[in-house]
Amino acid sequence: MLNVSIMDILVGSLFAGLLIGMVLALVALGLTIIFGVMDIVNFAHGEFLMIGMYTGLLTAQGLGIDPLFTLPVAGVVGFLLGVICYFGFIKFLLRGPMVAQLLGTFGLMLFLRNLALLIFGSEDRALHHGILVGKSFEIGMGVIVSATKLTCAGLSVVAFLAVWLLMNRTKIGKALTATSLDAQGARYMGVPTQKMNALAWGIGGASVTIAGALIVNFWSVNPFIGLLFTMIAFAIVALGGFGSVPGAFFAGLVVGMITELPGFWDFFTYTFEADWMVDIPMTSFKYMWVYLAYFVIMVVRPRGLFGWKQ
């Protein structure tokens, strides 16, 4: 027989799912922008995040400033990285077939990861000081929220709004959308599509490195951290619909909730006082449900929930 207060498990899991969902959505935002404009799947996306994490960490430690103030630095690094990658590498890949583009970004992923390994070594590094580092507070009902995740979630909403406004309310956004719909047509209409592609890589890079600099307040970084985030970002982008900004946000929340399934399971375990449920290893498979959702959506609705690209 189990006798514990259970509402905090339910509310705690709900909150945690929403917050981690927004964090993951922010990670996936850059991927969906790049895909939306250029139809390129960037396998090196997680490595961009890793570079953002190292930028935040090293800038904070090197200059002795709070990690929060490193966000603009990470943004600039990410923007430049995106633009350099586009002009130095991606532009040439576009001439080749789809497979060349896939393998090309895969190669970029391996290159960036090994470069990081060479420069930073394989140890986990983490921030020890900062306004948000290690801070959390209780919001009632025994639910504890991490300050970093809350800030990250807030910034995620702001970033999504900003990108949505950029894409839908500005001339640049219209030019980006035109490029993504029909690059040749846009070129005929005088849209500098090369610059638009570079801009998409720049914005995509900046958004993910900012996410990296933000989450390094909580997570430790090593050169191998990228892959896990790339996988989750892929699942989010596929669920939400390739190239859809609101879709990525919504799918981020769904994925966040899915990763909290073990919490909901605990809630039902204690609610029904079902001892047999205790032994079901839900936590062991928490990412499996994410990829299962990815698989199901690919079968049922290949363009994703909000996708408009066929």
Binding site: L2, V4, I6, D8, I9, G12, S13, A16, I20, L117, G121, S122, E123, D124, A126, H128, G134, K135, S136, E138, I144, S146, F218, W219, S220, N222, F224, I225, L228, F229, I232, T259, E260, P262, G263, D266, Y270, V278, D279, P281, M282, T283, S284, K286, Y287
Partner: protein, 437 residues
């Protein structure tokens, strides 16, 4: 005079012929090649560096001798019974990958023609590498893999010096029982109901799953209630749902089996989620690494970890202090569980070769099965090394033992590990209950 000259010419001719026929190497001092397979890159690279340094130091002592160290290996320059042959180490990096480990073992055996293998730290890699050694009939000594299953396969070419997780996990339950009986230094007897509820979170690997199973087994045997037992994906990006699940179980004692990055993330998440169990215990690995201490700082005060070696051992054993001095000169760090056991692993290899007086696998096998190294010759606090040759744990050292350490702030303000178990070698009062983060 003529006959003397003729005799001289004959002798010279014979020597010249011998010189041509016999390869030059046969008359030189032979080299003994030991293949050493460790995780030198990847997530466990820090541990890999410690392991490597431990083995290298042991090889240096064995090859060049150090008369003031009271161990047989340090008295001979090389393997005495093999004409002073020197140990040559060939390092390979398994990157934590069991398949790669097996490939490397084959390469070492077939291409490098090693006389034996030492490794591999990760139980999962030790499992595949030892299977290759068994297939080729090449002896393998393992110094630091603690999955109990490794010595339960009836292998004839595999010997393990370190005590394994079953012993370590039993130590933990002995400590809990000791707490209820007032045996722990500085703590009055605690009613069992105060520490009866346990919860465990172990990584989903061969090692972690075994530890999780052992905790279940011993909880039943010692009559504790295991409220939650979860396995999580190793190298996780986020452990908050796991920690919430542990908290929801309202456990008094939380038990973990994690490597470095997960151990750090787990404790950070416990702190962020304001978890407040009475005891936090880690099954070595990540909980004992220098990064764990340097990253988490003072917040780990009160956390327990099982270990096989602590700097405090040096106060108990003079030899450990002497070897530690050499290790510190080499690396700048103190000996730890990984390096001390790696050192002992190679020391065992040297003793086996010395006893065998040959590099023939069959002779080495016989020597290993009859080996005895007394505890006074070891840096680790064991009674000695003697391998089991019958029963269901073939090749397991039966004279090993574990320690449980607790992170405490010393007089110098630095966080360090104090021995709290075995009770008779306690180096400080135990902090109980855990004061919170």
């Amino acid at each position: 005079m003529k006959s003397m000259l003729r005799s001289g010419m004959v002798i010279l001719s014979v020597l010249a012929i011998i010189g041509f026929i016999v390869p030059s190497g046969a008359l030189a001092v032979k080299e003994i090649k030991i293949g050493v397979i460790y995780p030198l890159t990847g997530g466990a690279a820090a541990a890999g560096r410690e392991l490597r340094a431990g083995v290298e130091l042991a090889a240096k002592i064995a090859n060049s001798g150090m008369a003031d160290l009271p161990m047989t290996m340090a008295q001979n320059k090389g393997i005495k019974n093999l004409g002073g042959a020197k140990i040559k180490l060939i390092f390979k990096d398994h990157e934590g990958n069991p398949t790669l480990g097996a490939d490397l073992a084959k390469k070492l055996i077939l291409d490098d023609k090693v006389d034996g293998i030492l490794g591999c730290y990760f139980s999962s890699v030790t499992k595949t590498v030892s299977a290759v050694c068994e297939q080729y009939g090449i002896p393998m000594i393992n110094g630091s893999s603690t999955s109990p299953a490794l010595t339960k396969r009836g292998f004839k070419w595999f010997w393990r010096t370190t005590p394994h997780d079953k012993w370590f996990t039993k130590d933990l339950f002995e400590l809990l029982v000791g707490l209820t009986k007032g045996k722990v230094q500085g703590v009055k007897a605690v009613p069992k109901k105060d520490i009866i509820n346990l919860a465990s979170a172990c990584e989903k690997t061969e090692w972690g799953s075994h530890v999780s199973g052992l905790i279940k087994e011993f909880a039943k045997e010692y009559d504790f209630k295991l409220k939650k037992s979860l396995l999580y994906a190793a190298k996780s990006a986020d452990l908050s749902s796991e920690v919430r699940s542990l908290k929801a179980s309202r456990a008094d004692v939380m038990l973990f089996a994690s490597y470095t990055s997960d151990a750090i993330l787990m404790v950070k998440t416990l702190k962020a989620q304001k978890a407040h169990p009475k005891i936090i215990w880690g099954q070595d690995a990540g909980f004992e690494k220098p990064e764990f201490r340097s990253t988490l700082g003072d917040s780990i005060s009160g956390i327990l970890t099982r270990t096989v070696f602590l700097p405090k051992v040096m106060d108990l054993k003079k030899l450990a202090g002497q070897v530690n001095k050499l290790y510190k000169e080499k690396t700048g760090n103190d000996l730890g569980g990984a390096s001390a056991r790696a050192f002992t692993g190679l020391q065992t290899w040297v003793a086996v070769l010395e006893k065998a007086g040959s590099t023939k696998p069959a002779k080495i096998q016989a020597a290993a099965n009859a080996l005895y190294i007394p505890g006074k010759e070891l840096v680790v606090p064991w009674q000695g090394i003697k391998f089991s040759t019958s029963g269901d744990e073939l090749g397991q050292n039966v004279l090993g033992s574990g320690l449980i350490g607790q992170y405490q702030k010393g007089k110098d303000g630095k966080i360090g590990l104090e021995i709290v178990y075995p009770f008779d070698v306690s180096s400080a009062d135990m902090i109980f209950p855990f004061a919170g983060f």
